[in-house]
């Protein structure tokens, strides 16, 4: 998609998609539309990883303040999602997966989405600072700005490595969660950050492989579009080979127990096996991409089990390695 058209869309303000089934004069966003703007499915993962980081972090916290911290992280993630949709309404409109979002569907004006995102983002950072601490609030602000400015505005449309750098945005919530409890960010917090950072490319590229046509149509330079399917499959294997050793690092460094370590090794072997299956696959149509679909689904389970094991490990052996 030509950059000029994209820019024109961004300054045009409210845009009602033709064929949305809503007369422009009667379009009035419902609460469901605002909720959809928060990307609730992405938020689930953010809440889960941040929650696990809060439990893994040494120290205690009043349950209500812990709830407030999680709420702030969730709202900040939602704000980043809203601002992402505000900026990407033009891309979303041409992709089948995203065409029904509130902005491309004409249920909401772009200015509304922008205001909603800015207010939620600012509010979450301020409440985090006042209720918990300003270190956590600082990382929360960085995570929003990183996702919106570095990933959405700068990288996504310019480089096929967009997902690699953008993965950091999804990794910041663990730093926020940890900092909310302790007020600092030690080595284990950054290892958790690195796990999500390195997990993101195999996860999203597996999706991008079988959704390649959609990204190509929208002009987003995802790796399968710019470097081909074979190159993407080998990069998935490469990032998986980097990810697995990092997941095993905490017990080796004495930062967690081997309840977590055993789980990380087991899951890592399965992840590598699935990534190898993807690397060997030569299919170039979605119908033949069963290994990619399996890896995409398993990657979600992988992260959930890994962080679940971290929590279990911490609850079984409180204070281990700290």
């Amino acid at each position: 998609m030509p950059q000029a058209n994209i820019a024109a869309e961004h300054v045009s303000g409210t845009a009602m998609a033709p064929g949305s089934g809503i007369a422009p004069g009667t379009a009035f966003a419902e609460w469901r539309d605002y909720f959809a703007l928060l990307k609730p499915r992405v938020m689930t993962l953010v809440i889960f990883t941040a929650f696990c980081a809060m439990i893994a972090a040494p120290g205690t916290m009043h349950p209500f303040l812990a709830f407030t911290g999680i709420l702030c992280i969730a709202v900040a993630a939602g704000a980043a999602g809203a601002l992402n949709q505000w900026y990407e309404a033009d891309i979303d409109a041409v992709m089948k997966r995203t065409a029904k979002r509130p902005l491309p569907a004409g249920k909401m004006g772009k200015d509304e989405a922008l205001a909603f995102g800015v207010i939620l983002g600012t509010g979450s950072v301020v409440v985090m600072g006042l209720a918990l601490n300003w270190v956590a609030a600082l990382w929360l602000a960085i995570s929003i700005l990183f996702y919106v400015i570095v990933y959405t505005m700068w990288l996504k449309r310019r480089t096929p490595q967009n997902i690699v750098i953008g993965g950091a945005a999804g990794a910041f919530p663990v730093i926020c969660g940890w900092a909310a409890v302790t007020g600092d960010t030690p080595l284990l917090a950054w290892i958790l950050f690195a796990i999500i950072f390195l997990w993101t490319p195999p996860h999203f590229w597996a999706l991008a492989l079988f959704m390649e046509a959609d990204y190509s149509k929208a002009g987003v330079p995802m790796l399968p579009v710019t470097h081909g399917l074979a190159n993407t499959r080998w990069q998935i294997l490469g990032y998986s080979a980097l990810l697995v050793p990092v997941t095993i690092a905490p017990p080796l460094l004495g930062l967690t127990g081997w309840a977590y370590g055993g789980t990380a090794i087991t899951l890592g072997v399965i992840f590598m096996w699935m990534a190898a299956k993807v690397a060997r696959n030569t299919a170039d149509v979605p119908a033949g991409m069963a290994p990619e679909k399996q890896l995409f689904k398993f990657s979600l389970l992988y992260l959930a089990c890994l962080f679940g094991a971290l929590v279990a490990d911490r609850l079984l052996i409180p204070g281990a390695g700290l």
Binding site: A15, M16, P24, G25, T68
Partner: protein, 69 residues
Amino acid sequence: MPNAPSTADWTPEQRAAFYARRASRNRALGVLLFALVALFFGITVVRMTGQKPPIPAAKLPPAVAAPAS
């Protein structure tokens, strides 16, 4: 943006749909405001009660515990 019909040109169905959407959003806004009040109240209570208890008078220096009148 295409020329939007003015509110006077709405059909009864469009008007009803608009009112339903507005009512739904206003209810959600009310719930959200109430939740925010509850959140700030809760934070305030926890932060205030979470402070260290005042030092018992027995542990204070005599001059501070019972200042000369």
